[in-house]
Subunit: 159 residues, 2 copies
């Protein structure tokens, strides 16, 4: 999109970045900014996505969550394949403006490519002294049939 | 710390990573993994930190949140200067194990170096068509006097 230089302010001082009222995002060495996605209705954290400037701009302008897929090296509108879109109701930004939170309204049963409601469906068993550390399921049943919903698409998980 | 190779499993297959019960984290090209920190009592998202393998291991073993400071290029135990420590009650991990959530008990009034309770004390005004995008305060008053608490320390915000 062409409006990005207008949508984001230049970063000119620490005070402007931390206490100002202009969006002046900072992208990391890879050109990305992490976006924490929260279900606005339940307050559950659904996923952590990465945004390049284009993804952040499209998200603000369209209110549809967009990300940069590192595994596919492509811009990605959440739900473009599954139909499980995320409409942004609110977007928060942190002190140094290198991370955002999206409070979203989710279409469909889940946001995780494995088929769970949230990508965070396991927790580390901090009481266990087993090595390696053990994971426990917090969502026991998938929310949808990922193999059907994402049929024909490569799995984004990389080793 | 020396136990890291034992604490984390090697990543051997997509199925193991997504559906297994072993912690097998993936660090990005910079050797880091983002950690979303949530106040366990209020469910408020407080900050987004970055962990290298050492920080993740120390967090699990000690249950005190540790991060890697990119601005200082140093391991950092949250609260080591301010006293505002974060004790980890639960740790969740995502589908491809490249992000975690820490549910923490916070000592003190806040977790943000600017002096607010949460680092996410502003939101983007999505209803405004002003350019650049405008930010609105969600926390109007600081929670503590950051200049006093962090006296003598460099500001971690980079332009």
């Amino acid at each position: 999109m062409t409006a990005a230089p207008l949508l984001f302010a230049e970063r000119t001082s620490v005070e402007q970045v931390e206490l100002g009222n202009e969006l002046a995002p900072r992208f990391d060495a890879a050109g990305l900014l992490p976006a924490i996605v929260v279900d606005a209705a339940s307050s559950q954290i659904l996923m952590l996505g990465q945004m390049n400037p284009d993804a952040l701009e499209r998200t603000i302008v369209t209110r549809q969550a967009h990300f940069w897929s590192r595994s596919r090296q492509a811009l990605w509108r959440k739900g473009e394949h599954s139909g499980f879109t995320q409409t942004v109701e609110r977007m928060l930004v942190d002190d140094d403006q290198d991370a955002v939170i999206l409070l979203v309204r989710v279409e469909g049963p889940g946001s995780c490519h494995v088929g769970f409601r949230s990508c965070f469906y396991r927790e580390v068993d901090l009481d266990s002294h087993m090595r390696p550390s053990r994971l426990l399921r917090t969502e026991t049943e998938p929310a949808f049939d990922a193999a059907a919903v994402y049929a024909g698409l490569p799995n984004p998980t990389k080793l």
